[in-house]
Subunit: 293 residues, 2 copies
């Protein structure tokens, strides 16, 4: 069943900052929208715009052709899909469930298998691009699952993002997101160390950035986060606690493949030190705090 | 004295791959060029095009208004500037010596002080952009030294590069280059780990790159070196042995400032392991070899 506005009923579970933007775009595109969230308060705005509230994941799935989830941690994903009163209890044969949470690839496979037994299709489709990507509908979406289901869901993905790529079977979207987070992790150490080195050497760090950002040292983090570090702006684009979650999943998966990841392992240690100091709700650029002392 | 073609005689010492391109541009721009290199053979092409050979750094400096050096290691820089038969023995009062080698900030200060005692001006002006930047005259040039001298030498810098920035007093160019190399170092761990993770997870790594290169994980290394890693192309743009040299200088300087650089320290260990396996003349993307096994 190809997603189609006016026909397909979409359920959305998980109305955090990103989920609210994403669900809002689907509503604006003309789809009937059902919503569920742990805290009903956060659904208020969408309900006022026409979304219909459901009391639990099961009843959300019962009323929906497609359910999209954007929750917090793998434990939340497991609860929402496989727990008592969860999506799989309510999903009708032929329904499609799409998890856009960044979560464990292994769990994505487990959910896909449990769903298949009930005639339900599942895609794992984590995103990158943060709040802003969600708000501006420019998220990069990395998808794992069946090709036909992916194509059927393309109209919905296109409402939320750009750069939508099917990476392979179940779990492949999550693995791709892990690859993304692994590249970000060590890169952040490099950016912090480069900026603090420049400062301690008595240079003007902003002028140093003007020399190094456009060349071989250049990165998204250097261009976008280093200037915030230097201003002492640690407001979250992306939370420290969420990067820690992602790095833990990635490290566990890498170990299961017998792969050593010294950069990732060291970065995770540093971020855990940062969280222990009380900065888990800062943005990831706050790693700078550990160095600039 | 402002550099001016047809008037200013330029000496160039160090005719490796980059030095040859840079000296060639100066010749093509209409300057009189004297050259010196440890191996005369490498000067042949420039001599055929009109450059005049000199037998040692001292006689190079005796005949030049400006001398540019592009040699290998800090020990070579020290020898060429301060050693017996070196540049400072031959340089005339009012001459300008420009070291474009990536070398130690402390040594740059030492040379600047020794030169000042003789009425000679020195700039440290390391570059980034590699062979290709040298060939296409698009090098980024990070300069330390006196502002008037920097302005006087601008016509020469403009012949070799773009993005030419005076970063501060003597040693500031080298410190800026160290900041650049520090950002590159940890970033390379991240790129290798991300790519090998994707491969081991059974994904198509090129397709993964298409999802992650344009977003928050994006970097020059991910866009330019990850595809070479995947093709098994380890030919040097920038040599492993030279990055090791740079990282050692940076680590020593950071320690002298009382700064911890866990990412840099770990990356240096990995590159030393790689060099010990015999890959010191590969390009820096060969770090991938350690992971892909």
């Amino acid at each position: 069943m190809k997603a189609e506005k006016g026909k397909t009923v979409v359920g959305f579970a998980g109305l955090g900052v990103m989920g609210q933007s994403m669900a809002g775009h689907i509503l604006d595109a003309g789809y009937d929208l059902l919503v569920y969230n742990r805290t009903k308060e956060k659904a208020k705005n969408l309900i006022e715009r026409g979304a219909v509230w459901k009391d639990d994941p099961r009843s959300l799935a019962e009323g929906s052709d497609v359910v999209i989830t954007m929750v917090g941690y793998p434990a939340d994903v497991e609860q929402v899909y496989l727990g008592k009163g969860g999506l799989l209890e309510g999903a009708r044969p032929g329904a499609v469930l799409i998890d856009m949470t960044t979560s464990s690839p292994g769990l994505a496979v487990k959910i896909a298998e449990a769903a298949r037994a009930k005639g339900v299709d599942v895609l794992d489709a984590p995103v990158s691009g943060g709040d802003r990507g969600a708000r501006e509908a420019t998220l990069s979406i990395m998808v794992g699952g069946d090709e036909k289901v992916f194509n059927d869901m393309a109209p919905l993905f296109n409402i939320m993002g750009k750069g939508i790529v099917l990476q392979g079977g179940p779990g492949s979207g999550q693995h791709t997101k892990m690859s993304n987070q692994i590249a970000i992790a060590s890169g952040m150490m490099g950016v912090c160390e480069a900026v603090v080195y420049a400062k301690k050497a008595g240079l003007d760090p902003d002028r140093v950035l003007s020399s190094i950002s456009a060349g071989a040292a250049g990165s998204w983090s250097l261009s976008n986060l280093a200037p915030r570090m230097l201003k002492g702006d640690f407001a979250p684009g992306f939370f420290v606690k969420h990067l820690i979650k992602d790095m833990k999943i990635a490290l566990e998966e890498a170990r299961a493949m017998g792969m050593e990841t010294p950069g990732l392992a060291r970065t995770l240690e540093l971020y855990e030190e940062l969280a222990a100091l009380g900065y888990e709700n800062d943005g990831t650029q706050a790693l700078y705090r550990l160095y600039d002392k």
